[in-house]
Symmetry: C2
Subunit: 430 residues, 2 copies
């Protein structure tokens, strides 16, 4: 299956958004061949991935046009980088939440103008995308909600705040009683900030509706990803990752519908035994740092060896979709409490200490998805995941599950060496 990557002409809109058109054109020219090589050249894909091909093709085009139309009606658009920013509050306040550009090497050099080279590429790319004016999401958001999940982000927001409308949620280091109290007050402060931004009051009614909407998105992703547990893996890891990545950008209701269509097709594919992989392929879990659009490097390297990634224990994987919010309370206080709890209690980012819940999750998911081996992936200079790697390796050794630790950025220069290490690792799996 080959999709079209041709986009309509949006230069007028981009100019209005104060995009650096010349530099942005370089990016627009680079994405289609990248996507073609990594995605469209895959064999035996689900047909209904076509929608997601279109989303990628139009990620700086049609989707931005939608957001501009939404804004033209007096609505606000909010941007964020992290799954701890509660989308439910943004929706309840009548806004939309979008992810911000942070996944490409393209934005790393401008980020390095103001950030240390020894910063993770995600943070450098995020800041670089804004200061180079080559990300239409950054250019169109009314508010950016950052969060203190790591030193790199925490200190980068201070610099980004001089360029863009920033609001920062504090995240406690420890899920203690006072840490939880701090987090609850942060959730409350964000809701007040959003009310001020939009002029709309968050009520039990609109929050309940928003909770249902976002729960539906997470449940749709759960159902799709559940199909990766079986013998017949109906969808590549690359495609499943792409769907999760797009969850951060797309209109929620449409996204849910399209994921359901894809899931229906995948159910049929399982019944027919249709899979992109050969029998006996090794089942790989990826755990660690987030993989944000268009960071497909690791999945592409793994699946180029003919073996599927079957699950991602990360912020663009299980941590995003496994937990839902209990929307049963009828009062705002009860809903806010459940919302705050959902975001912190059982989602185990390496920013927390201790973080043994993540080790338990990895072991549980390894069984559920019947993985043969695990790749513990850290973005370069991502101190929290790199350091937690020692505990991950110790625990997996105890459990008898093979693990390969990799640290890499967005650059392509180390792909040959990484592929050799991945192949060598997979050869050792029984």
């Amino acid at each position: 299956m080959r999709g079209s990557m041709k986009m309509a002409d949006y230069h007028g809109m981009w100019k209005e958004l104060n995009i650096d058109l010349k530099t942005h054109d370089l990016l627009c020219d680079a994405l289609p061949p990248l996507y073609e090589g990594i995605y469209l050249d895959q064999g035996n894909r689900p047909e209904t991935m076509d929608y997601f091909n279109m989303v990628v093709a139009e990620v700086h085009g049609a989707r931005i046009k939608e957001l501009m139309d939404f804004k033209a009606k007096g609505n606000k658009v909010v941007g964020a980088f992290c799954i701890y920013v509660p989308e439910e509050l943004v929706l309840a306040a009548g806004s939309q939440l979008v992810g911000l550009c942070a996944g490409s090497e393209f934005w790393v050099p401008p980020g390095e103008k103001v950030l240390p080279r020894n910063t993770c590429p995600l943070v450098k790319a995020g800041v670089g995308a804004r200061i180079s004016r080559t990300c239409p999401y950054f250019q169109s958001v009314d508010l950016i909600v950052g969060e203190n999940t790591c030193d790199g982000k925490k200190k980068a927001w201070e610099i980004l705040a001089e360029e863009a409308p920033m609001y920062v949620m504090d995240i406690p280091n420890v899920k203690s009683r006072s840490g939880m109290a701090l987090w609850k007050s942060e959730v409350k402060s964000l809701s007040e900030k959003l009310e001020k931004l939009t002029g709309k009051t968050i009520t039990s009614s609109n929050l309940k509706e928003a909770i249902e909407k976002v729960n539906a998105k997470r449940i749709a992703l759960q159902k799709l990803n559940d199909l990766r547990k079986g013998d017949v893996v109906p969808i590549s890891g690359k495609d499943a990752l792409l769907v999760s990545e797009i969850a951060f950008y797309d209109d929620v209701d449409r996204f849910v519908e399209k994921v359901q269509v894809l899931t229906d097709e995948c159910v049929e594919r399982v019944q027919k035994g249709e899979t992109p992989f050969n029998p006996g392929a090794k089942r790989i879990m990826v755990t660690g740092s987030p993989l944000v659009l268009p960071n497909w490097k690791l999945h592409h390297l793994v699946e180029s060896t003919g073996n599927p990634v079957v699950v991602e224990e990360n912020c663009t994987g299980t941590r995003y979709y496994e937990q839902t919010v209990d929307g049963s309370p009828s009062d705002l206080g009860g809903l806010m409490d459940n919302l705050a709890s959902r975001y912190i209690e059982n989602i185990h980012c390496a920013c927390f200490t201790p973080n043994d819940g993540r080790l338990d999750d990895i072991v549980r998911l390894a069984k559920e998805y019947r993985v043969d081996g695990i790749i513990d992936y850290s973005l370069s200079f991502c101190t929290t995941y790199l350091t937690e790697g020692t505990k991950v390796r110790d625990r997996l050794k105890q459990e008898g599950i093979p693990v390969l630790s990799l640290e890499t950025g967005y650059e392509s220069g180390d792909e040959g060496q990484l592929k050799t290490r991945i192949e060598a690792f997979i050869e050792t799996l029984e």
Copy 2:
């Protein structure tokens, strides 16, 4: 002046402490020539630095013997890495607080066995000193109090906790109302932990006494360092740094007495115009990451050019001694509140966001100490200080104060290159 670096034989005591004697001997052999080259070869030092020479010579010997004697009477010794751990509480509970080894390249390779190479040398050396069993402080403490001031430390404590008796204080990212509430509850929790460890209750009486004792230490350091503000700089930056570093290890009352003796001598030296520096030498401020014993690299490089470091805006400088605790309340609650406030309100570590108070401090100190130029020093991979460097440079540009940013670790390999950069910077100063 030449002091003796010969130490008595403590092998029996070290053996009891389960020190790796063979490896530790290498360290003991390496320190005297290092100290001689950096410290004893200086010209025109204050005579009463002799006490501090002795402390360095006996830092793994006589001081450890004292601590062991103190422990033999049923007392406890507590170790820490950071100025946010309140020494007053430790003293009030009848214990002593000591710094832990983290300042030498010697301990970096063992640290790298369990920590990512991309970790700051201070954290790697701290963990490495413990797991290599070559630091008698680590071997003799009854409790180690860590703190969540950066990702590197926060995650390293999880690994260290498997090797040693760890307790971790959480530090908020933001000095907000809920951040302050969290910090106050952490101070309370530490006091309870210390009471449990020692069996001694912290009362208004013993806390008041401890506050006075630690205030006396900070005031003694203030008075000494005040003398560096004048035209005649009576003490080298290296010596002043050493005194501050030793503040973390020495018996408090004795240390205060010896600093007072040194200060008296320095007052006389100023009157007589005695200084290690030539007229017209450029006055340098060092700001940034902490410089812990025996990390004398930067000061040695700067002062080898004949120009004095006159002030350190860091955790082994002004942040350690500028603030005292208001010990006037008669009730425990009032004292605890003042203690908690002292530690967080006006001490501006880059772990906080925002941290504009540090920029104000740098500018204020530059005026008070009449500096000609500032070196913004970051330990390698120290994300918080490296990133805050952008704001430091921006602010100093506004203020018209020249700044040189340097990132380096404990290794000696880059000293030639650093010296060239420092010399070039100083040549530009008017």
